[in-house]
């Protein structure tokens, strides 16, 4: 570890952080979306008349929840394909 050159170290850390980040960033929005869907389905089962209203609201809410996962994906893609830290070592 002591004689490892800093570029390699940054690469290793980047890969680990990207993997861990996408895992955590995929799990949490999935749980949140699941809760939202459960509640919406319960409400539709209770009041089938409100299905149309609920569907629109649910889709918009899901899109907002999903976007947190997309942000994580974007950060991971930047880390993997356009890492600004690596340019310091490999110019």
């Amino acid at each position: 570890m002591a004689q490892m050159d800093p570029g390699t170290l940054v690469t290793i850390v980047t890969i680990i952080v990207a993997g861990a980040g996408i895992v955590i960033g995929a799990i949490t929005p999935a749980i949140a979306e699941g809760r939202a869907v459960v509640k919406a389905l319960e409400s539709i089962a209770r009041q089938p008349d409100s299905a149309g209203d609920l569907r629109t609201t649910l889709l918009i809410a899901m899109a907002l929840l999903e976007s947190t996962a997309i942000y994580v994906l974007l950060v991971v893609l930047i880390l993997l394909f356009a890492n600004p830290l690596l340019d310091r070592f490999f110019t």
Partner: protein, 224 residues
């Protein structure tokens, strides 16, 4: 970078033109040609499309969609076709470049204020943005962050779909990417739906000050 990022095709007077811009031009030609053809051959199909968009926007905004249909309907058409056209070989979908979604969401950001001023008048609209004056910074943060998230959501969805297909294509080029391409069509159309829905929600919240009393009182009247 192996087609991960959009490439510069040629430069006009020092301005680089990327392949996504070229495919946007192709897409515009395709849309106009299809609409002109449909108007000659089968006007009912065109009418169905416009009626569908009208009903959809009316349902979300809870007010007649007439003043907003030109903007929001063409946004829906543009985003939908742009997401799906990436399936055609040698054409990169325009929404794959972060600049296209940013331009679209800046248009939406402007439209929110233009419609707000047009409906409420200039001073009442500015006053409604800063109704208690200490909420103004929060309002500004909200406006900027939702514009950014609108563009990044569209870009991230399309881009991640294409990256997954590219990786699968490098691994198993034969049949395996096909179901994912079908899924990509679904995601693209869903994103067009969501983009339009969110744009309508943003615009209708910009008009909220004069409609809040109206929309609250209306359902009560119907119930009675």
């Amino acid at each position: 970078m192996l087609g991960v990022f959009p490439e510069v095709v040629f430069t006009v007077a020092g301005i680089p033109v990327r392949d996504t811009v070229v495919s946007t031009w192709m897409m515009m030609v395709v849309i106009v040609a299809v609409v002109l053809l449909l108007r000659k051959v089968k006007p009912t199909a065109l009418e169905m499309l416009v009626t569908f968009l009208y009903d959809f926007i009316t349902e979300i905004m809870r007010r007649p969609a007439d003043p907003f249909l030109p903007l929001l309907g063409s946004l829906a058409l543009f985003v939908g076709v742009a997401n799906v056209i990436g399936l055609v070989p040698f054409i990169t979908s325009p929404t794959r470049d972060l600049n296209t979604p940013i331009a679209l969401s800046v248009v939406v950001f402007m439209a929110v204020h233009v419609y707000g001023v047009r409906v409420m008048g200039f001073m009442p609209y500015v006053r409604s943005l800063a109704s208690p004056i200490f909420l103004l910074p929060l309002e500004i943060v909200g406006q900027v962050s939702r514009t950014v998230s609108l563009s990044i959501r569209l870009f991230g969805n399309v881009f991640s779909g294409e990256i997954i297909i590219a990786i699968l294509f490098a691994l198993v080029p034969l049949i395996v990417p096909l179901p994912l391409q079908g899924f990509n069509i679904f995601t693209g159309l869903l994103q067009a739906y969501i983009f339009t829905a969110l744009a309508s929600v943003y615009i209708s919240t910009g008009l909220a000050a004069d409609s809040s009393s109206e929309s609250v009182s209306k359902p009560q009247v119907e119930e009675e």
